[in-house]
Symmetry: C2
Subunit: 444 residues, 2 copies
Amino acid sequence: VSAPHPEIREQELLADELRELWPFLPLEERLEGFHALSRSEAEELFLSFDAREQAALLGALPPGERQLWIRQLAPDDATDLLQAVSDEERAALLRLLDEPTRREVSALLAYAEDAAGGLMSPRYVRLRPEMSVDEAISYLRRSARERVETIYYIYVLDADQRLLGVVSFRELFSAQPGQSVRDVMHADVTTVRDDTDQEAVSHVFAETGLMAIPVVDAENRIQGIVTIDDIVDVVREEATEDIQKIGGTAVLDAPYLEVSLVEMVRKRAVWLAVLFVGELLTASAMSSFQDEIARAVVLALFIPLIISSGGNSGSQASTLVIRAMAVGEVRLRDWWRVLRRELAAGTALGAILATLGLLRVLLLPVHGVDSSQHLVLIAFTVAASVIGIVLWGAVSGSMLPFVLSRLGLDPASASAPFVATLVDVTGVVLYFSVATLILTGTLL
Amino acid sequence: VSAPHPEIREQELLADELRELWPFLPLEERLEGFHALSRSEAEELFLSFDAREQAALLGALPPGERQLWIRQLAPDDATDLLQAVSDEERAALLRLLDEPTRREVSALLAYAEDAAGGLMSPRYVRLRPEMSVDEAISYLRRSARERVETIYYIYVLDADQRLLGVVSFRELFSAQPGQSVRDVMHADVTTVRDDTDQEAVSHVFAETGLMAIPVVDAENRIQGIVTIDDIVDVVREEATEDIQKIGGTAVLDAPYLEVSLVEMVRKRAVWLAVLFVGELLTASAMSSFQDEIARAVVLALFIPLIISSGGNSGSQASTLVIRAMAVGEVRLRDWWRVLRRELAAGTALGAILATLGLLRVLLLPVHGVDSSQHLVLIAFTVAASVIGIVLWGAVSGSMLPFVLSRLGLDPASASAPFVATLVDVTGVVLYFSVATLILTGTLL
């Protein structure tokens, strides 16, 4: 094979570099680089962007160029782009589309972004059941040149757009020429409803191993298809949202470095403030034990140790359960099995940490305690509190996602900081109650 | 179209129900259900399982049935299954494969599970560049009946297995009959190396929007192809691992409800114990301030509030940065931009929480403080400490993933509990230092 033309090679290097640097360039340099690309390289770059990035680029381009670029997009991608801009911009951009695409996009805009209807493409290949395999292949050969999403899955419809079956291109291609489409199609089609949540759609893909799934309305009429490449984005996006919630922020909805500082502070401040107010209860709880602290200051030393052990155990339990629920390994009705596990695991973990705590108090110097009898009593106070709070952390951390889910909220809101705060207040009360029980008459 | 035969419909219901209940059934019921399915339903169910589940089922089946089932698997899936079993089982199962597959699988077993080589299938369609489009289509029609992974992407190779180009089936199908494969192929092929990490492979899929990518060795010889359906699993698996690390556990490597209790405790105890030992430093730090606590017990009341504010702010910052690094939005060299953002965000967030803290101390009763002058001083002590610790949480939480990554460790190990523990110790020292500064001569 001949070596590529040197100019083409240069173009490719420029395109690769631009793609790599894109998120880190100021707007003018992005535009300059974009305009320096050949038409096909620019097209490839534009299509590789996500909807938010495409919208930003489109907004920055001179108005005369916008039509050219928005018309490169398939209807589902054009819809995503339009969902990423303001209402006025949306109306203006819609006008740039050609008539049939505008109609398709307007229909898609009616669906929620995170439902199957918001993911689907209306451009699938359809056949009638009575067609012969040869007729079908000729028809597909023509379709291959058109703007359909995929020619590799073909849907067989009746006159009312109701789904009768599905056949892969490969099956059609390797069938006997005399057979009809009905002979080779599968009548048992996996479908999703247009209002199915995108996370549920991703589970159907995972369970079935399919590359495309048709989307139907309540009357089993096909509305479009979802392809697996869109599901990769869904899985990544849902994981990002869950991770951000687990970390105790509102979902950012944009790359970290591109969120404005004001927006970033706002999304983090809400949860931090709520947690701060919750944590204020620890101060109130502790003020009822001020006399105990005054009599045995040594008790104060172990407060951070004890409450953080509960918080850590709670963070572990809640994140494990949140993720298991998100990937479908644990369902709402499994709460009892999870609770039993966490009771056992929490007790074991508590015992391990309590042993470490016991050893710390007994073996390393504790200032302000002279009598070894008192030291032993403090050691047991710490150990008993650690077992209790670690167990409580595991139980409340694992049950909170179930409670949220049962209330119709997102289980991922049982963030690590939220669980830690919940456990902190309990931890303070537990520790001082145990201390009063064990130490009254000696240190207290 | 005629209604499906009632027995077939019953089979489907049974299969769906079994798939749904599978993770929650005891082993005997799983086997019973599996054997009650028709051959094609059983096949579909088996193929929908992940490697771990397939291995478990295979191990439970009578030895005579194992060969039948393991031979259903494509070489890349058979490899995954073999990587999920013990060494002895692996040798025994390898013997059940037919000779060509055994050779393919043995070659794949040499690759790391989480590298491109461990994901790829060696069964791709290859063409010579001098073939005509018509010859190519006839050849593909024969291949469609064989066990190749996909006929939709076709790779053009020279005599040394070096990759010359790629063409999609659709392009070939809509080309002019007189053209040669070389005329329609794209010479600029996106490839990944066989030792590329699977997370990096998933980024290449995201950037290019391709459905399959060829895997080449150091000499650009094609070794296999990775298809996008495998990438969905990679993205989900990598997110699960990151979430578990962020929650402060070792990676479970199996569904929550299927990990044995001993294993679960082991995977959680290691991190909990490390954090506990780290947290012991708070006790040591506080013992140097025992005199201050004894003189002003009121100071102890706000310890949990202050350290948890730092921990929460740190959890937010570290999870945001970990996720941004994982999806490629932030690179190692961006640390300076992230630091600047977090300095600004941390100061703003600290100021917001400090205001809340100030209001709490001034407006709600604080027992044990009689003088309003003292109350104001305490309020400022709390507020200044909160600003400092929230800022420190944001800075250390955001920088820790960079430090870990620079050291060649996984940034996701900067878990919420880890950052919280790190900040707790600093928080105690900071709070009492500020208190000493502000309160010496009055309360202290």
